[in-house]
Symmetry: C2
Subunit: 433 residues, 2 copies
C-alpha cells in the first residue's frame, strides 16, 4: 500500500477501505508518511468528503493510534461529555459534579482555550494549586475513589489526532466535518467512553454558524457512535449570545460555584440540567429525562453536587477554601460597569465579539503559547430580547490594565444590536439527535 | 500575507491575486513555505481549479523564480516547441534541424523519459559522446553560431516548477490542468521563447485520454500565451498508437535520421512537416502553412536538414559518423520478428502497452534513478486500420535478454485488437488551437 494511492483515491472521490485508513493513520502516527502527503490528503478529504463508514474507521484508527483507557472496571457504562466550544461555556464545571453525585462516575479530559473560545483547563487553573496534569494511573485511581476527575489530555491518547490537527491548523484544512467529527470522537473513545453526550453549539460564537452545519456534524458523530458501538446523543444548543453571564476564567469558576449552590444565571442552570440529564439517561442512572431532571435538581439543592466539586478540587490539589468563598479566586484591579447607551430591545449580543473582548482583556490566547490572565473577564447581565432603558447596567468589566478596559468598552458596545420593536429571546436548544 | 490564507482562499474557490500567487511561488522557491502547505494548496488547486488569469500569473511567477534566458539577440522571434509526451515521439530530432535549416534558430531544452513515455535527452544520448548538459553560456554561443541546440534543462530555470512538480508527483496532484499548463509554459517562457508550438497528444499513450481534456489543456496554454504576450499555437495530435515505427532510444534516432534523409514512416514524416510548418509561420519565416510546407520539404530533399542535424551532433560532442551510418548506434543482441497470430483488421495498437513493453525491454525507466538500455526497443510495422494475413510481420523486437524478449512478445500481442470488418485508420491530427 502506498500513501499516494490513498490520496489519489480520495481525490477521485473514492471510498477508502478500513485497511487504507488504518494504514494511513499508522503512517501519520509513526511518521512514515510525510507531512506533505498528510496535508494533501486532508485537503482532498475536506473538499470531497467522507462516508459515515470512512469517518468511523478514521475515528477508530485515530483512537487506536496510542493508549486507550479501559474504564469498564469503573462503571458498566462510562459517560463522557463534549462541547464543541463557545463563550461563557463553563458547563463541565457544573455537570461533572452533578452527574458524579448521582452515582455515575465521570472522568473528563479537557482542553485549553484558543481564540475567542474558552477552555475548561484554564478555568480550573484559576483555583490555586489545582493540577490538570494527572498521569493515567492518577486519573484511574481518583476516578475509582471519588468518581470524578477533570484534567488535561494525557500525551499518549490519540496521538495521530494531535499530529493531524496541528497540520490541519496550518494548511487550511480545519473546517471539514468528517475531520472535526473524527477528531472529537477519537479522543472520547480513546479515553474509554462507552456513551457520549455532545453539546454542539450553533451561532455567532460557535464553530458551526448554521443549524444545518451543526446538525450535519451532530448526525455524523451520532453515526460514528452507532457504527463503533458507542451510544451518542447530540444536543444542539445556542451560542449566538454567551452562555450564562460570566466570561473569563476565575469569573466563570465563580459562576459555576454559584450555580452548584443553587443560584446562578437561569439559562446556564437550565443548560446544565438538560446536559446532565442526558448523561444520566445514557448512563442508565435514570429511566427518562424527567426522572433525571429530578435527580439533578435534588443533587444541587441538597448540596451533594457542591460536595462533589469540593472533593474534585481537593483530590487534584486545589485550594478548597475557594469553594466556600469564591472571592479568594484571582481578582482584577479594575472593575467597571458598562451601561446601556440607548433605550431599546437587545436583538444581538454577539458571542464572538464578547469572546474576543475577553481575549483582549487577557483572559484568552491568540496563539497557543500566549500567557493568560486568570482574573480578567466580564459579566453580561442581560440577554437577547431584553428591554433596556438608557443607563441600565449591561456589562461589568474586570480588567488589570486601563488601556485594556477602554478597548473592552468599545468592543462590548459593538457586540450589541438594538431595535425598537420587541424581539424574541433566543432558544437555549435547537434539538436533540 | 500568510500562506495559510492563500490556501484557504483557494479552498473556498476564490480567485488568487497576482500578488498572492507571486508571494506563494516565491515562498516555494525560497523554501519559506513548507512542503505541507504547498501540497495542501496544490490539492485545492487541483480540485477547485484556476481561472486563466490565475494560471497565467502562476506561469509567470514560476518562470521568474530563477534565471530567464533573453534570446532576443539571437532572432526577432524565437520559437520553441513542446510535446506533452508519447510513445515513439522522436519529432524534435527531425523538426529542430528542419526549422533551423530554414533559418529560424531553435534552442531546445528537453527532458528525460519516465514511465511508458520516452524522453528526447535519452534518445540523443544513444549517439556516442553527445553532451546534454550544456551550460547557459554554451547554449547561447552554440545557438548564435549554428542556430541549433538540443540539451537538458539548466538547473536554474524555473526552480519553483521543479520543486512543485516533485511534490505533486508524491501527493497525487499531478493531473491538474492549470498546474500542468503552467508547468509547461513556465519553462518555455523562462527559456526565452517568444512563440511556442504545442504538440498536445491525445489517446491511450498520452497523458490526456480524451479530446475534451486535451482541448481544455491546449486552450489553457494558448490563453496563458495571450495573457503573457507570447504567441502560442497548439496542435492536437493522435497518440492512441505509436508515432512512426521505432520505439526505443537508438532505434528512434535511426528512424529520425532516415526521416531527415527523406525516408521514414509516412505518418511520422507528415507529423514533423506539420509541426515544423507551424513553427515557421509563428517565427515569420513563412507567410502561411503551404509556403512553410514547401520550405520544409525542400530542406529535407536538398539535405540541408540532415546537415543541420550533423552540425548539432558535432557541436555537442557526438560521433558524427552515426549520421552517415546509423548502424554505428548501439544495437541489441537479439532481434526477432513477431508476426500476426491471426487474420483481420487491426483496430487498436495500444501505444501505452507498446511504451510499457519498451520499458520492460529496458528502454525506459519506472523510477527516475533506473538505468536504461539505449539499444533495445521495437519497431511497429503496421498501423490501425491495416489488414493482416496470418503470419505477416507486425513487430520487430530488439532485446538484450531472452527473458525480456519473451515478456515483450506477450505484451505486444496484448496491445492489439482485431476485427473482421474493415476499420478506419486513426487521424494524425484532431485540430489546431
Amino acid at each position: 500500500m502506498r500513501a499516494v494511492d490513498i490520496i489519489i483515491k480520495k481525490r477521485e472521490k473514492g471510498e477508502l477501505t478500513k485497511k487504507e485508513i488504518f494504514f494511513f493513520i499508522e503512517g501519520v502516527t509513526k511518521g512514515t508518511i510525510p507531512d506533505y502527503q498528510i496535508s494533501a490528503w486532508a485537503m482532498a478529504v475536506l473538499l470531497n468528503g467522507m462516508t459515515p463508514k470512512e469517518t468511523t474507521n478514521l475515528t477508530l484508527a485515530m483512537a487506536e493510534s496510542g493508549d486507550t483507557l479501559d474504564l469498564s472496571t469503573i462503571a458498566p457504562i462510562v459517560v463522557d461529555k463534549h462541547s464543541t466550544g463557545g463563550v461563557g461555556d463553563k458547563t463541565t464545571l457544573v455537570i461533572e459534579p452533578v452527574v458524579a453525585a448521582c452515582g455515575l462516575p465521570v472522568g473528563k479530559m479537557s482542553g485549553r482555550g484558543l481564540g475567542f473560545s474558552g477552555g475548561t483547563l484554564d478555568k480550573m487553573e484559576s483555583i490555586p494549586g489545582y493540577r490538570v496534569n494527572l498521569s493515567e494511573s492518577e486519573f484511574l485511581s481518583q476516578l475509582k475513589k471519588i468518581g470524578i476527575v477533570l484534567t488535561g489530555q494525557t500525551k499518549d491518547l490519540a496521538p495521530a489526532d494531535g499530529k493531524l490537527y496541528a497540520l490541519r491548523d496550518v494548511t487550511g484544512t480545519v473546517p471539514s466535518l468528517p475531520l472535526i467529527a473524527s477528531s472529537i470522537m477519537s479522543k472520547k473513545i480513546a479515553a474509554g467512553a462507552h456513551a457520549i453526550v455532545l453539546d454542539v453549539k450553533i451561532g455567532l460564537g460557535a464553530f458551526m454558524k448554521t443549524l444545518d452545519d451543526a446538525r450535519e456534524l451532530a448526525e455524523m458523530m451520532v453515526s460514528i457512535g452507532e457504527l463503533s458501538g458507542r451510544k451518542v446523543r447530540a444536543v444542539l444548543s445556542d451560542m449566538n449570545q454567551p452562555l450564562g453571564s460570566a466570561v473569563g476564567n476565575a469569573l466563570e469558576v465563580k459562576e459555576a460555584i454559584r450555580t452548584l449552590k443553587g443560584d446562578g444565571p437561569e439559562d446556564f442552570r437550565e443548560h446544565c440540567i438538560v446536559i446532565a440529564s442526558h448523561m444520566l439517561v445514557l448512563g442508565k442512572k435514570a429511566g427518562d429525562l424527567d426522572e433525571a431532571r429530578g435527580m439533578v435538581e435534588r443533587m444541587i439543592s441538597n448540596g451533594s453536587a457542591l460536595s462533589k466539586f469540593r472533593a474534585l478540587v481537593q483530590a487534584q490539589g486545589g485550594d478548597i477554601n475557594v469553594v466556600k468563598d469564591p472571592e479568594r479566586l484571582p481578582s482584577a484591579s479594575f472593575v467597571e460597569d458598562l451601561v446601556a447607551p440607548q433605550e431599546g430591545y437587545l436583538s444581538q449580543i454577539n458571542a464572538r465579539v464578547i469572546g474576543e473582548t475577553a481575549v483582549a482583556l487577557g483572559a484568552g490566547r491568540a496563539k497557543k503559547s500566549d500567557p493568560i490572565d486568570l482574573a480578567v473577564g466580564l459579566f453580561v447581565h442581560r440577554k437577547v430580547g431584553d428591554f433596556l432603558k438608557l443607563g441600565e447596567r449591561l456589562f461589568t468589566i474586570h480588567a488589570n490594565d486601563t488601556q485594556h478596559l477602554e478597548v473592552a468598552k468599545e468592543k462590548l458596545l459593538q457586540s450589541l444590536r438594538w431595535q425598537s420593536e420587541p424581539c424574541k429571546p433566543l432558544p437555549l436548544f435547537y434539538g436533540v439527535i
